[in-house]
Symmetry: C2
Subunit: 335 residues, 2 copies
């Protein structure tokens, strides 16, 4: 009996050390890149953003530090941001040109190179969890609209009335947009202003088992044509994860992120050219896309735990937490 | 006056030679990879397939040989295949689990790195033309469902009653699938049989101006969950074009083509590793995907006019035509 206890204690200590204290984990999140300045995020409201980003990091870290998976961590981190009206995902999503909320999300597992995504859904409380169900409980990768909603309902996800996603400030912005369009003859099919594209959320993580995962969720572009799908639910564009390279979640002018296959391009540059994560990500955001006048940013973590959070806008809601006890949250470009 | 005529004649000859006779153009098409054997495509029906594939090549060549663009050529070639019930795109598309036709398509311009796509549309006669309108007349890349249909209508595309896409043989196959599912308790969310995935169509082209383009159109997977979107409308997965590397259109088990970002991966291997088109395409289809038990194929042309048409199934409807006067159409693997 005493011997058993000694052995169990030994096993516990060894596992405890190797599995938790010694093992590397990292979680990086974003709450969208855009025209994020001290004039817009004033001293009065900034603490709310910092608190919510911190809460998201803590939700993911709780999983990672207990040996949980990167998939669970990115899902948990994104759910916190979806539940907050501060960000353009889940509750508080922007409105389509028709005055509705249409939500997109995707998730990817770097170990299995598996992924799931949903687009244009209107009544699933947490789109990122719907994306995960598509990955794990359907043979499909991308389900859209009513089909995705029916699937989510069948899988037992929380269904809400579409009015759950309503946020007064977003609605006021939408009405302002309509006024501008009426004045300028804008049909809603023109290029958006940078103000209209803020707030996509995402998370990437490396867990102590060495597995990478990425997740992205969004309400899309304010005043978007109904049925418009951006890069967030597109594997390779807004989201990508591969244990052999990196995990990526992007935010920005989605159409250009699709055309440039941004998330996968970082992985490809690392795998085929030997480029470092930071170099690949910075080139795409601050050279290639900036050269095309395309606004956006991304977060990424590689298989070694290196992270990068480049953006070419005035700010990006972002933060990270890791197994070394660091936790940082930043909003503006010069922080 | 005489001098002017001489000069004009000279200019005409030079332009004629450099612009048309001497300049390279290539068009490659596919009508889907799958379980395509002499037992299924019997001697009686094979001529109809060969004739339709030839008609598609001729429609595209007519444009290319007169100095037209690769974009016009791939659109024209795909429209011919969409209009034919022999292929799983446009008229003759397979049925969703609910007994409807939901069509996906995408197109990409290698010069502008621009693209357009539609998914889950039910009443636009030629989905590939809807994809092109999205690319050229909207700020978006991907429009889905009712939003894509409204946009197509507003842009003057031909709208048809959904019954236009009905094909008796596809319907019979669908009813057989339902019977199998009822027997086996299959919910329609399981992996499809290879028989259920045939017939996506696509085209890639290089025009005499050196511009590449790619186009893909499909009815998707037979018995698919409604709202399921495969790789065909996903830029980077089923379709990609870039003047610096190649143009690709893929066909096969779409979910795996999305997860492996197949079309863009060929371009990335060429650009970042210096791999040849043929080597990159063959590796992905006959090594990587085959190793994962994933059925499919693709067609591609690079900026030099080299072409490749690998597939790991028993057959793939395919063909090419070029400025050297070659025109070939093949169906089975051993042809």
């Amino acid at each position: 009996m005493k011997k058993t206890i000694v052995i169990l204690t030994f096993i516990f200590i060894v596992f405890g050390l190797s599995g938790q204290q010694d093992s590397l984990y990292v979680l990086v999140i974003h709450g969208g890149a855009g025209n994020i300045t001290p004039e817009r995020i004033t001293k009065d409201v900034k603490p709310a953003y910092v608190a919510k980003l911190t809460e998201s990091l803590q939700a993911g870290e709780e999983i990672l530090k207990n040996g949980g998976t990167s998939l669970d961590a990115v899902e948990a981190a994104v759910r916190v941001l979806e539940d907050s009206p501060l960000f353009n995902a889940g509750r508080g999503a922007v409105f389509t040109i028709d005055g509705n909320n249409e939500l997109d999300a995707s998730i990817m597992c770097g170990k299995e190179i598996n992924s799931g995504a949903v687009a244009s859904i209107t009544n699933v409380k947490n789109p990122i969890s719907a994306a995960r169900k598509v990955m794990e409980e359907s043979p499909h990768v991308l389900l859209i609209g009513k089909g995705a909603e029916r699937f989510s309902y069948e899988k037992g996800l929380e269904i809400v009335d579409p009015s759950y996603f309503f946020d007064q400030e977003r609605w006021d912005n939408y009405r302002e947009l309509l006024k501008r369009q009426r004045k300028g003859g804008d049909t809603g099919m023109n290029d958006p202003s940078p103000d209209d594209m803020m707030g996509t959320v995402g998370a990437v993580a490396l867990d102590i088992h060495g597995n990478l995962a990425a997740a992205t969720s969004t309400g899309g572009m304010s005043g978007k044509q109904f049925g418009r799908v951006g890069d967030s639910p597109i594997i390779g564009a807004g989201t990508y994860a591969n244990n052999k390279s990196c995990a990526v979640s992007a935010t920005g002018h989605g159409e250009y992120f699709i055309r440039n296959v941004v998330a996968y391009d970082i992985s490809a540059r690392m795998k085929y050219k030997g480029t470092s994560l930071d170099e690949a990500a910075n080139y795409i955001i601050n050279d290639k896309l900036k050269g095309l006048n395309v606004n956006g940013g991304l977060i990424s973590v590689d298989k070694e735990g290196n992270i990068t959070m480049p953006f070419n806008t005035s700010g990006m809601h972002r933060g990270f937490v890791n197994s070394e006890g660091q936790l940082e949250v930043k909003i503006f470009g010069d922080e």
